[in-house]
């Protein structure tokens, strides 16, 4: 397993390096107001709001990259070569899922660290959003990966685009017909996100949904892994199309 993890690290080193540099650059947006304007009375509010958007961007960026982890195995020769190794195909899939999960956990720890840095500099950051984003992205990957394994990354990315379009349609529906009162003023937006930084401000239902969601995404990820194991190499003929 360690060897497979190392192989993926080497195969994806360019992507990982570019992504890491990008993630570091995006993270600095969070403390930019402190770097340029110093600590003011509004620093805490501004950095807290910025942290929400920065954390969402960080996880979305990583989410785009995770599909490429599967691309490396997508030549027919390579796909069949894998089955000739002493490791079972289940190990190959397990490694992909583990590698992706480790990337998300590493990013979450980075977010936590940067939240501490922001606090030292006089700002504030909403780590809860980072955690929720991690769970959302894990759940999204849990849905995406079996498609990648069965149909290859091209078809998989088409399916992903379709799902994202559907989500955007739902979002637009909400914008046109839903309750937008929470976006009425900057104060209300801040109030909305403040509830996500302090569990004591949340209602029972919100707390319950929040508590169940991480375990739900973990369960979904595990089920997705089991499904991918069954689907692995069944679509190998379609990889090069």
């Amino acid at each position: 397993m360690a060897g497979l993890l190392y192989r993926d690290l080497v195969l994806n080193k360019k992507n990982l390096l570019i992504m890491a540099l990008g993630e570091i650059a995006i993270s600095f947006l969070m403390v930019a107001p402190i770097l340029f304007d110093g600590v003011t009375s509004e620093t805490e509010i501004i950095t807290s709001l910025l942290s929400v958007f920065v954390f969402i961007m960080l996880f979305l960026t990583l989410g785009v990259m995770t599909a490429s982890i599967f691309e490396a195995d997508e030549s027919k020769k390579w796909a069949y070569f894998i089955t000739s190794t002493p490791l079972t195909d289940v190990s190959q899939i397990k490694e992909k899922y583990l590698f992706t999960l480790l990337l998300y956990i590493a990013l979450f720890v980075w977010c936590y660290f940067f939240a501490v840095i922001s606090a030292v500099m006089g700002g504030s950051a909403n780590v809860l959003i980072a955690f929720l984003m991690m769970c959302i992205m894990i759940a999204a990957n849990a849905i995406e990966f079996p498609f990648l394994v069965r149909f290859g990354s091209k078809a998989g990315s088409h399916i992903k685009t379709a799902v994202m379009l559907l989500a955007m349609i739902i979002a637009f529906e909400y914008i046109f017909f839903g309750d937008l009162s929470i976006f009425g003023s900057p104060d209300k937006i801040f109030e909305f996100f403040e509830k996500f930084s302090d569990t004591s401000l949340m209602s029972d239902i919100t707390l319950t949904v929040l508590a169940v969601f991480p375990y739900f995404s973990a369960g979904l990820y595990f089920l997705s892994y089991k499904l991918s194991c069954k689907l692995y190499l069944k679509g190998a003929e379609e990889y090069e199309r």
């Binding site: 949340m202 029972d204 508590a211």
Partner: protein
């Protein structure tokens, strides 16, 4: 150099690196005024938690030991129950602590009053506990930084130069004393208590011996440091809400509450030791039967 002498040399080097890196870093941060508020304390603690792992890596490098027996393998197969126990143990001993606080120290134990004060129902409070556990698990790499050093390197080395009970105690003392800069800054006890900071360091050594036994048991059972890292993460991040169920915010009795908490940990640690003894006896009997 024989094996024992080499192990002692490695232990000393590891302690030197782990202590040196943390204490010098904490000293520098104090010098530059970073340690003046809660955020600075968190920053130093975050970095400090990686120093035992760095210490073990440096020791391996200097003594040309290599990365053998680093316990970095997950070994999840067949060990699922120990991973679950790693998450459950801190919850169990904190619940015992609540009960002991009420029985021994007469602390008020009224969960409904706590739920009312926080403004959530029992279900909401339970959900918050589970949510904190989930976040703690996600933060396990930070605690892996400590566990790679204490359980992954120090404890196995101590076992080669002394018997197991002595190794538990020495490991607990080394781990406890390592916390000295944090205790001076008010970790767990604040700064206003009898015998500050020496009493704090002493109690921390006791606490670390207790939790060290549990974490070492988890590590030995799975031959992996991950369960210990999970247990450590849950212990540090997710037990606060359970402890808050009994009223322990009387600062004048902080040492007493901590001592009772440590007693609760030792109850779980005793169960781990008993299980180890029974399973070792079983293994010895089955080996003897196989030999016969």
């Amino acid at each position: 150099m024989n094996d024992k002498k080499l192990a002692v040399k490695r232990i000393l080097l590891f302690v030197l690196f782990s202590y040196g890196l943390y204490w010098i870093f904490a000293g520098l941060c104090d010098l530059f005024g970073i340690l003046q508020d809660e955020a600075g304390f968190q920053f130093v603690t975050f970095i400090a938690m990686f120093t035992p792992a760095i210490g073990s890596l440096l020791t391996r490098l200097v003594t040309k030991e290599g990365m053998a027996n680093s316990m970095l393998r997950l070994n999840l197969k067949g060990n699922g129950k120990y991973f679950l126990l790693a998450i459950a143990f801190p919850i169990i001993y904190t619940a015992i602590e609540d009960v002991l606080n009420a029985i021994i120290l007469g602390a008020k134990f009224d969960p409904n009053a706590v739920f009312e004060a926080v403004g959530v129902s029992a279900a909401g409070y339970t959900a918050a506990i589970f949510f904190n556990i989930a976040i703690s698990i996600a933060l396990f790499p930070v605690f892996l930084g400590e566990e790679l050093g204490w359980r992954g390197y120090l404890f196995p080395k101590l076992k080669t130069v002394m018997n197991r009970p002595a190794a538990y105690i020495v490991c607990g003392i080394i781990w406890g004393v390592w916390h000295t800069p944090a205790i001076i800054d008010g970790l767990n006890f604040g700064k206003d208590y009898m015998g500050y900071p020496y009493m704090g360091v002493l109690l921390m050594c006791l606490f670390c011996t207790g939790t060290g036994i549990i974490f070492a048991w988890l590590t030995e059972k799975t031959n992996s440091v991950y369960p210990a890292a999970f247990a450590h993460a849950v212990n540090n991040n997710a037990t606060g809400l359970i402890l808050a169920l009994s009223e322990t915010n009387d600062e004048s009795r902080v040492l007493q509450f901590f001592l009772v908490g440590t007693a609760a940990i030792f109850i779980v640690a005793a169960a781990c030791i008993a299980e180890s003894a029974v399973s070792e006896k079983r293994t010895a009997v089955s080996q003897k039967q196989a030999a016969d």
